[in-house]
């Protein structure tokens, strides 16, 4: 069609900006406050089946029961898997390169993702023992743990 239009692409530039204030809920509040005030690491133990989920959520991933109380964990853990991040992105909390891992805490049946530090990437190995390093100024969120490092180092 001769008189069909097609000249140059046109764009609308802008953002989608939305502020949110999330409630973490009663149980996770206790977890974060323990972390901030006592550097204590806690998990959620199912009163019905005994499954310990970590980071603590109020619903048991195994039997769907409600969990209202936390149990304290020793704080040490084992590395399950890991990576080193080499690229920049708009959402990253630290500057690359940095290492991240999935860590299974002793006494828990599930694992969590966090940063790994004080260790050369080439020395990371699944199964190695880890312990948390806490942030100096803690704000009751997951970044109150700075990273996990090889235990006893």
């Amino acid at each position: 069609m001769a008189n069909e239009i097609k000249k140059e692409p046109m764009f609308t530039q802008g953002f989608v900006i939305m502020p949110y204030k999330y409630s973490v809920g009663s149980l996770a509040s206790k977890f974060f406050i323990d972390l901030r005030d006592k550097k204590k690491i806690t998990a959620a133990k199912c009163p019905k089946c005994g499954f310990v989920n970590f980071p603590p959520r109020s619903v048991c991933p195994k039997c769907f029961s409600k969990i209202e109380d936390l149990v304290e964990l020793p704080g040490t853990g084992t590395l399950v898997t890991f990576t080193q991040v080499h690229y920049d992105s708009a959402v990253q909390a630290v500057k690359p390169p940095y290492a991240m891992g999935v860590i299974k805490m002793d006494g828990a049946d599930t694992s969590m993702v966090h940063f790994l530090g004080d260790v050369d990437f080439k020395n990371l190995k699944a199964g190695m023992k880890l312990e948390p390093v806490f942030t100096e100024k803690r704000n009751a969120n997951i970044l109150d743990i700075k990273y996990f490092k090889p235990a006893g180092k």
Partner: protein
């Protein structure tokens, strides 16, 4: 059901901020090009059922006939009749900019002269007592040098006396 009380609860403040570069598509792109270059507001018409669209549309929403042939486009306005309006008096965050809306903020839905189609835009008059459905308004465009090929090339609707 009663909630138990707890001394301290934790909240997490997060702001979603996604940068966007939306493609306007061809009919709307041509609408903005005409607005910028020639100061004209265009509508297009379905060749089959005669329904009019402003801004111009690709295919008719009713019978899917192609409406893009430019020689059938009709310039409308800048004068028109106010169909309805609203005035926002409470400010809120404008999601496209992240800034707070300057209030009072009046928006008019205007039936433009020349073809039965409506356009929504800001109104200069923000006193709800002075805005009446049915009154005559005119779209004021920015000077050609300031126009960028977007909806803000139209500054606002002003009330006119005829």
């Amino acid at each position: 059901m009663k909630e138990k009380t707890q001394e301290e609860l934790v909240y997490l403040d997060m702001t979603l901020k996604m940068p966007f570069k939306w493609a306007t598509g061809e009919p709307m792109g041509e609408f903005f090009r005409e607005l910028k270059a020639n100061g004209k507001i265009y509508s297009n018409q379905c060749p089959k059922c005669g329904r009019v669209y402003c801004p111009p549309i690709n295919v008719c929403t009713r019978d899917h006939a192609k409406c893009t042939e430019k020689d059938k486009w009709v310039a409308v306005g800048p004068k028109g009749t106010l169909l309805t309006f609203f005035v926002a008096e409470q400010s809120f965050l404008v999601p496209t900019t992240g800034e707070m809306l300057k209030v009072p903020f009046a928006v008019g839905i205007v039936m433009l002269d020349g073809a039965p189609c409506t356009l929504q835009h800001q109104m200069e008059e923000t006193d709800p007592a002075k805005i009446k459905p049915g009154m005559r308004v005119e779209a004021i465009l920015k000077p050609a040098a300031e126009r960028k090929g977007n909806i803000f090339d139209i500054k606002h609707f002003v009330t006119i006396k005829e």
